[in-house]
């Protein structure tokens, strides 16, 4: 069954059209990566699924029920982690989750256990300070906990990793992956490596519609190259052997497998200081599909 179905969604703000025709669907227990650059309308799409923004045209179904703008009954199936989750700063994590539990009408005897389990999951069990003093990463983790409080069938996460350091990012991705058996996840991002790590399927939003959907079990993301750093004296040699471009202070060699690279480097007696697999950038994907 499709947990989420989005059909021909349109949205404009004033005379600025953000979404022209967005359609996609998400199946039960999938992790769906929603890719798009800044300003492409990822947040707008999500907020329309949540009934927070008016749907200009098209329709949205959550668990088979239509979403209505304003108060929507479908939200009882949904958990939402906004891009910048906002809390009441004078509360601590437990108090905030208690408020959320009371709003979702979880019975008192069940809510205490649920809150502790969620705090455990996101690693905030031992934190008693007010949310006022939380770091960005802690807020993001509390955001995941509050989104999961009603055991939603569908969890919607808006750029859950973008403002985090590598460790925070790993934590959040780990949490999302770990809840896959209980809930369907749709998360937006502009970081492709995050998508690659945990998603089953990917939709790419550009110019107001989904330009392509990929099933990561069968489709591969565009081939990636490698990033190398070499000694100053080897730079010239490297330039003659490979077609390189400079990226992130290193040399980027596109479309090459590691094995071939080692062989060539060895043949030409170039000794690298650092080699890493380059991730395809969003631009690479756009180029590939358009």
């Amino acid at each position: 069954m499709n947990i989420l179905e989005v059909n021909n969604l349109k949205k404009s703000f004033g005379d600025k059209t953000v979404l022209t025709d967005v359609s996609f669907s998400v199946k039960e227990n999938e992790i769906y990566g929603f890719i798009g650059g800044n300003g492409e309308g990822k947040t707008t799409t999500m907020r329309m699924i949540l009934g927070l923004l008016k749907i200009d045209a098209g329709d949205v179904f959550v668990c088979g029920e239509p979403v209505t703008f304003g108060e929507t009954k479908t939200n009882r199936h949904v958990g939402y982690l906004p891009d910048v989750p906002e809390f009441y700063p004078f509360m601590n994590a437990r108090e905030y989750l208690k408020l959320c539990a009371e709003i979702t009408n979880i019975t008192k005897d069940k809510s205490a256990a649920r809150i502790e389990a969620l705090l455990e999951l996101v690693g905030l069990s031992d934190v008693d300070t007010k949310i006022k003093g939380y770091s960005r990463g802690m807020k993001q983790r509390l955001g995941v906990a509050q989104a999961l409080i009603n055991q939603p069938k569908l969890l919607i996460c808006d750029e859950p990793t973008s403002a985090l350091d590598p460790k925070g990012r790993r934590d959040i991705l780990g949490i999302l992956k770990s809840i896959k058996s209980e809930t369907t996840v749709i998360f937006s991002t502009h970081i492709l490596s995050d998508v690659e790590q945990i998603s089953d399927r990917v939709g790419i939003l550009k110019d107001g519609h989904i330009i392509r959907e990929l099933d990561l079990k069968t489709d591969k993301l565009p081939p990636s190259g490698v990033l190398v750093t070499v000694q100053e004296s080897d730079v010239e040699k490297l330039n003659t052997v490979f077609t390189v471009e400079s990226r992130e202070g290193m040399f980027y060699i596109p479309d090459i497998e590691l094995e071939a690279l080692y062989k060539q480097l060895n043949e030409h007696k170039i000794y690298p200081i650092h080699i890493e697999q380059a991730r395809p950038s969003l631009e690479d994907v756009y180029l590939e599909v358009t």
Binding site: Y88, P89, F90, K132
Partner: protein, 68 residues
Amino acid sequence: MEVFDEIQAYLPFLIPLIGLQVLLSLTALIMLIRQNQVRYMNKLLWALIIVLFNLIGPILYFVLEKRT
């Protein structure tokens, strides 16, 4: 002596008024000190405002700095 008598006549007003005023300013000052950082100006300036403008000062502090 006369001045003293006159002040004494108004004590039923002055005692609660001064008490309430001190309570208000003192609470604002304590909250100001316990605050990690202020949104506007600096702590010293806020302290002066709270003490000098006896009703408006603390109110301004609560409105602007305690917006949570």
